[in-house]
């Protein structure tokens, strides 16, 4: 229950942060979505064993968070939530590819371990960037930006509903768990109780969702949410998009860490 409450609190904190008024919040959401898409494409374009070359890309989420006044603690918590999935995805890589490709002192590192490290860095960077994007844009504006960029309306609307129903389902789960805990005196949920609990929860969430839908219909909702206020794609948005795209290009094609290392080594000699 406390972890569920904390997760909901973090989601609400993201919504609160999205209403701050910073230069990065004021940017057209489409610029942020497109820059993030360019970031993810760049991240995905590196070879499977690249690790150090990925690191300069961390500047993007760090800059988003710093300029948008997003607490790094919150970003870390939300990012670590995705860590188990990344670990499960990459768990078999060290066993699939055991050929040593790197010698670190006495330690021979196999291609599989490098691929695992690369997947870990990519996963964490993608998670932290997505979280920062939501925190400096807001889910509603994010969905509206996807809509304006030509994403299928069904997709952007479902995403918005998912966000809202996530809270509903979370609140229902929280209430049900709390009611159970108050009479359980520390006894964990028995396996045979899981089915009844899940079924009960599903029914409650379903009924709640139906009530929400009825309330929406009562206010004229016909399946399409009205478009939100539209911002202009101004020079700031162009500057943001082109500036970061240029940086991603440099990261991808100039191997910045090696270049910086070379420069530092050269400067020191």
């Amino acid at each position: 229950m406390p972890s569920l409450a904390a997760a909901l609190l973090d989601l609400r904190e993201l919504d609160r942060l999205a209403r701050l008024d910073t230069p990065v919040h004021r940017l057209d959401p489409r610029a942020k979505v497109l820059a993030t898409a360019a970031f993810l494409a760049t991240l995905a374009s590196f070879g499977p064993r690249e690790v150090s070359a990925l690191l300069p890309l961390a500047l993007f989420p760090v800059a988003l968070a710093a300029l948008g006044e997003v607490p790094f603690g919150l970003l870390a918590r939300k990012t670590l939530l995705g860590l188990p999935f990344i670990l499960v995805l990459g768990a078999f890589l060290p066993w699939v590819d055991r050929v040593p490709v790197l010698q670190l002192g006495p330690l021979a590192v196999s291609g599989g371990w490098l691929a695992f490290a690369s997947l870990l860095v990519r996963g964490l960077l993608a998670m932290v960037t997505a979280t920062a994007l939501v925190a400096v844009t807001g889910f509603g504006d994010l969905c509206a930006a996807l809509d304006r960029l030509g994403a299928p309306r069904a997709f952007s609307q479902q995403l918005l509903f998912l966000h809202r129903y996530l809270f509903l389902a979370g609140e229902e789960t929280g209430r049900a768990l709390q009611a159970r805990e108050l009479r359980a005196f520390g006894r964990p949920l028995a396996p045979r109780e899981y089915g009844a609990f899940a079924g009960h929860l599903l029914t409650r969430s379903w009924e709640r969702a139906e009530r929400v839908h009825a309330a929406l219909r009562a206010r004229g909702f016909d399946g399409v949410l009205p478009a939100r206020a539209q911002t202009a794609f101004g020079t700031g948005a162009w500057g943001f998009l082109l500036g970061w795209s240029a940086f991603f290009f440099l990261c991808r094609w100039l191997a910045l860490p090696a270049l910086l290392g070379g420069l530092l080594a050269g400067g020191g000699s």
Binding site: R12, A18, R19, F139, G140, A214, R219, G220, R228
Partner: protein, 242 residues
């Protein structure tokens, strides 16, 4: 016939499990009337209200709003006329901010964004919630949520207000505010409530539902004070015995 009139005739509704929720209530609401709908839990109050704006459709019988029968083809016009404030404001407040939520109805009615926002701000002002416009709905207190849910309906400019248990969960101050607000409105109002004090303050006329049947329709004070009948409907008389 006035276009503000609601007419309910021999309305019947059964839920999928066979429970007969409404068993033939028949009544009319006239322009500008404030009517209380009282009854014990499960008497059919919410079910009846949901028929007035077409959230539920009659299995048999008829509901008319003005000249319009409530049916699939007329739902848009009916819902423009009949604004329903649901029992749980959390079911209504959906959008990221209060202002967007209150503007949601006007946007669906086709108002351009600036006009929808202007209507939303006026409605928030009417319920004393203008200062909540930029807040997220889930950060509000129960009383604030109720006022915003009411604003969400007022912003659509309905002729008839349907309120389901509007005072539930309110503290005395919130309840006083709500009573003051509802007293100030000139809309035709039908209010389902267990709050008999609120009913006696706001509504000169009362309908009593008992097990889906309309068992009384008349002056509020006379009905609520009839101890024997009220107890036979699983209710308590108002005012209570000293």
């Amino acid at each position: 016939m006035s276009h503000h009139l609601v007419e309910v005739r021999e309305l019947r509704h059964a839920y999928p499990d066979g429970t007969l929720a409404l068993d033939g209530p028949t009544f009319t609401l006239h322009h500008g009337e404030a009517v209380a709908l009282v009854g014990a839990n499960g008497a059919g109050k919410s079910t009846l209200l949901k028929h007035l704006n077409g959230t539920l459709r009659a299995a048999s019988g008829e509901v008319r709003v003005g000249e319009l029968p409530v049916q699939a083809e007329t739902l848009a016009q009916v819902r423009r006329t009949v604004g329903m404030v649901f029992q749980d404001p959390d079911d209504m407040l959906f959008m990221p901010t209060v202002l967007e939520d209150v503007a949601f109805g006007p946007r669906n009615l086709g108002f351009p964004p600036p006009e929808a926002e202007a209507r939303a701000r006026v409605a928030l002002g009417q319920v004393g919630a203008a200062h909540l416009a930029a807040k997220a709905p889930y950060h509000l207190s129960v009383g604030e949520k109720r006022r915003c849910a009411l604003a969400a309906v007022l912003a659509m400019g309905p002729d008839i207000l349907v309120l389901d248990e509007p005072s539930t969960g309110l503290d005395p101050r919130g309840r006083r505010l709500l009573v003051g607000l509802l007293q100030a409105f000139t809309h035709t109002r039908i209010i389902a409530t267990h709050d008999l004090d609120l009913a006696s303050r706001l509504c000169p006329r009362t309908l009593v539902l008992h097990r889906g049947r309309l068992v009384a329709d008349g002056p509020t004070r006379a009905i609520l004070a009839d101890r024997a009948r009220m107890e036979s409907w699983d209710l308590e008389a108002w005012p209570p015995e000293a």
